[in-house]
Amino acid sequence: MNVTASALDVKALSVRLGGTDVLHDLTFSVPKASCLAVIGPNGVGKTVLLKALIGALPCTGEIRWAADTVLGYVPQKLDIERDLPLTAGDFLRAKAALSKASSAEVSRALRAVALDESMLRQPIGSLSGGQFQRLLVAFALLGQPNVLLLDEPAAGVDEPGQAQLQQVIRRLQDTEGMTVLLVSHDLSVVYRHADSVLCLGRRRTCLGPPRTVLSPEMLQELYGAALSYHVHDDT
């Protein structure tokens, strides 16, 4: 019997919204402690897929998370006014209370995303885009999740901020054995970090390791235009 543990098994997943099939008949698995990247042009349903996986959208098919799954979710963008009188500490304390996380766990989550505890006193409106995104990752880490769903976590963040975020995610995977589902438009990041890539296209979907999936021909078909990306040297 094959006992390779899956964090997630998805079979024949379809999502229909407003009379339109956004996702149709998706089947894939995500092994534990691996990173699945979801790529594709805007509007193909990448965010819809993540929302369906956490049960926020109605769908058909089968979604089976491993029994011990604890989810952490970082949304693509927040529909929240940044000038509300809320501090970073208010945010984290609320999540910590729900997750029954101790103050030590809050400190650890902040350290994991390289944010200083003094940040807790700052209103969220005063945080930079990169700091706010890292705060959201810290938010997701409370409650000791073993699966992280990241929906374009680096969107709108400057390059140093993006690099810092990528390091954080990579470190979490390496040190905590976290399973990661990552929606990203940055193909270089996908190439470097993902163990497998799920491409959502308007005409077809594909699944495989980055070296196979991120071929010029496949990208041309997926995005309808020639794309190139830079593969960074890891050393």
Binding site: L50, K51, I54, G55, A56, L71, G72, Y73, P75, L78, I80, E81, L84, P85, L86, T87, G89, D90, F91, R93, A94, K95, A97, L98, S99, P123, L136, F139, A140, G143, L149
Partner: protein
């Protein structure tokens, strides 16, 4: 000060605490303006209650709670913005209410008329704010997380839809509790204005709750005092003082 006045003050202050707290959550959910049209739905409830010889407050509360459930159900099914649903539903309610309520009853309903309170009204007037205060204090963490992202709240074990319903019911209950003192026209103000003051002055969540409650309570006590001296309805005084505090808050640079 007579016992009745003390009783009345205790009831209105506890209502003000509830209004200050629920207003903070409403302003964070961008539905603080909903308090105004929501209070209008009480009017047909008062009208129907008078036609059936019920107590007006019972009709108003029942109609408000039913309306909260209706708004919640429409939002779930249609995904129309909640403010739009409340705006449409309750403008219609105001029109219906003004037709079936008339004369002095209408003026009392619009501006509030504390009058003499029966035993059950005093009980409800104290128990209602306690329910709202307990809901806000217990539910604030879930509300804040859902405010950041309903999806994060979902993955944190929060039943977001149920919480939305409870919030609307608490909101409607708060409006209902204040109708006796402030009336249909002004009750929304005691939810909107203190929260708006707090939003301007506070830097964190606890401070926001404290400033909002403080503003609501101060306006209520001072409004009662001035109204008693002038021998007029307290509602307009309460709202004018809250409004004055809001304009004072504008002096602070952000």
């Amino acid at each position: 000060m007579s016992t009745t006045t003390l009783e009345m003050l205790a009831l209105s202050v506890s209502m003000a605490v509830a209004a200050g707290l629920i207003g903070c959550l409403a302003i964070m959910r961008r539905m603080v303006l909903a308090a105004d049209p929501l209070s209008h739905v009480a009017l047909p409830g008062i009208g129907v209650a008078l036609l059936l010889s019920w107590h007006p407050l019972a009709g108003a509360l029942l109609m408000l709670l039913l309306a909260a459930v209706l708004v919640w159900a429409i939002e779930r099914r249609t995904r129309i913005a909640i403010e739009a649903i409340i705006g449409v539903t309750f403008s219609v309610a105001l029109a219906v209410g003004s037709v079936i309520t008339s004369g002095e009853q209408l003026i009392d309903a619009l501006l509030g008329s504390p009058g003499t309170l029966s035993g059950w009204e005093v009980g409800l007037g104290l128990a209602g704010p306690l329910i709202v205060i307990a809901f806000v204090l217990r539910g604030r963490d879930a509300m804040v997380v859902a405010l950041v992202s309903p999806e994060i709240a979902l993955t944190s074990g929060v039943n977001v839809k149920r919480m939305d319903l409870y919030f609307l019911l608490a909101f409607a209950l708060t409006v209902g509790l204040g109708l006796r003192y402030l009336g249909v026209l002004l009750m929304g103000s005691l939810i909107i204005i203190p929260a708006a003051v707090a939003r301007r002055l506070a830097r964190g969540l606890n401070a926001m709750f404290a400033i909002s409650v403080g503003t609501a309570v101060l306006s209520t006590i001072a409004g009662y005092y001035l109204a008693a001296r002038a021998g007029l309805h307290s509602g307009p005084f309460i709202v004018m003082i809250a409004g004055g505090l809001f304009f004072l808050s504008l002096l602070r640079r952000q």
